[in-house]
Subunit: 314 residues, 2 copies
Amino acid sequence: MPDKLLRMHRTGQGKGARDRPVMLAIAGDSASGKTTVTAGLVKALGAERCTAVCVDDYHRYDRSERASLPFTALHPDCNHVDIMEQHLQLLATGHPVLKPVYDHHAGVLTRPQYVEPRQFVIVEGLLPLHTKLAAACFDVAVYLNPPEAIRRAWKVKRDTAHRGYTQEQVRAELDRREPESERFIRPQRARADIVVRFAPVEQRADPPGTPLSAELLLRPTIRHPDLTTILVGSGGSMHLKLTRDSDGRPVDSLHIHGYAPREDTHLLKKAIWSGLGGTKEVPPVLGDLGDAGHSDPLAVTQLLLLHHLIESAR
Amino acid sequence: MPDKLLRMHRTGQGKGARDRPVMLAIAGDSASGKTTVTAGLVKALGAERCTAVCVDDYHRYDRSERASLPFTALHPDCNHVDIMEQHLQLLATGHPVLKPVYDHHAGVLTRPQYVEPRQFVIVEGLLPLHTKLAAACFDVAVYLNPPEAIRRAWKVKRDTAHRGYTQEQVRAELDRREPESERFIRPQRARADIVVRFAPVEQRADPPGTPLSAELLLRPTIRHPDLTTILVGSGGSMHLKLTRDSDGRPVDSLHIHGYAPREDTHLLKKAIWSGLGGTKEVPPVLGDLGDAGHSDPLAVTQLLLLHHLIESAR
């Protein structure tokens, strides 16, 4: 490298003082709800303020090449993890990237896409928190952690309805991926600031159509809003519990039960929203499940993420 | 951008102390000889020590998209110049890039290519010196500057023989591109450390088959080898002349005439080669013109570039 370039870096002529975006990671296994969570955030913030990036595009091999390889698309060796890290660093420092594009329908790598970071960059995918350096690029990191039975059901439903697979094919693929899910996807849970688990409440027989409850581990790695006063009087359907994380460290656990009365969740949603300076109604896109209707636990989860995005931008 | 990332940068955890390559730019208009000069350098150094990058792959539009645009592929707006700059900086600091790939045959942008910098990175193309920041990435910058009549003849020959165009089509394209050559390609001459001009010697009637002479402007922006002692006794067929550049600044001008006796050029070649520590014969690939035979002025030009590459690596 020539001295000229070093000099430009030192004097700031190269990478000027660019506006740096707020970076949010949404990590999780296939069909864990990443797209659903992201879509509501982008709609609530406005697409013109958001850049959404899926890091599953950083595949090193296309589908035909992978067929002869001993690992699945979940394996870091199957992905350009170093380039993903580089692009996350560039976006985090306000620079554009030429992002690779994987055509999931045809299973081929195609023409890359020019991506500029807007005010909020939402990065979802299988491995955005795989390395320490990648994880360090985010202001807020989320890991979606539904029970495996629920995730498998979601994946079967989606891949048979929209990706042309049979139930048997999807289940076989899930089994084939399991060792790599265990080894590479789930360890990212440890790097998240917030771990989100949508699941039915155990030992309750809620009527069909009751939304899944949300359990949010709010780790002290970032500063969460003070929910204690807001939650007073919401009865047992929503509560914040001081508990221990799976590694023994202290953590707050926020529960929003699917059977919570809408008046109660409405108060909570409104309190978070107005805390963000929202004067109008809570955006109705929050909690939207598409064909599957609406979920207030999802809406509260998204509001909490919005809180972090907007607070980080301040 | 989160504080975690800043901290990693400060402590050097992010971008470690990587080996930094020597960077050489070979800029010039279409069919000015870039590939020929580069090929000899790569063969002489060994492909395993070289990374050759063509920056004409950073096209923003494919051929069909360009058809409706008011500019040619030479226009910076037709290229991802900011991404080219970014990738040159990354390579110069020892990092890999995921380089876009333009299929010049089909005229489409395809799957990008993972490129790691080896010891020597040779970057050729139309616009590698277009911006100050791009130019600052190079240890040595060369601009190829043949007379337009020669370059047009080379382009007609190449594009009719290898790219399936008629003579009329190539000439029409050259005319169409002329305003952008003038505006964007030729100004890069000012950013070069060495300007190379292959041309017949004026007012001489050399027999057919005489190689073109080379005129090399050796600008004082980098330290050139001391040729004065080497050139003593080479008669008028090779000489170094103190002169003025087109902007009036002092410059050395090295002439190697195509009619120079091979014994004379052989001595010069050998002197530069042994100055580089070369103990064996001068690599015969230097000066190779493919079907068009051999040129000693080209060989001397390449040796001078090898000198700079190897000196910069020390």
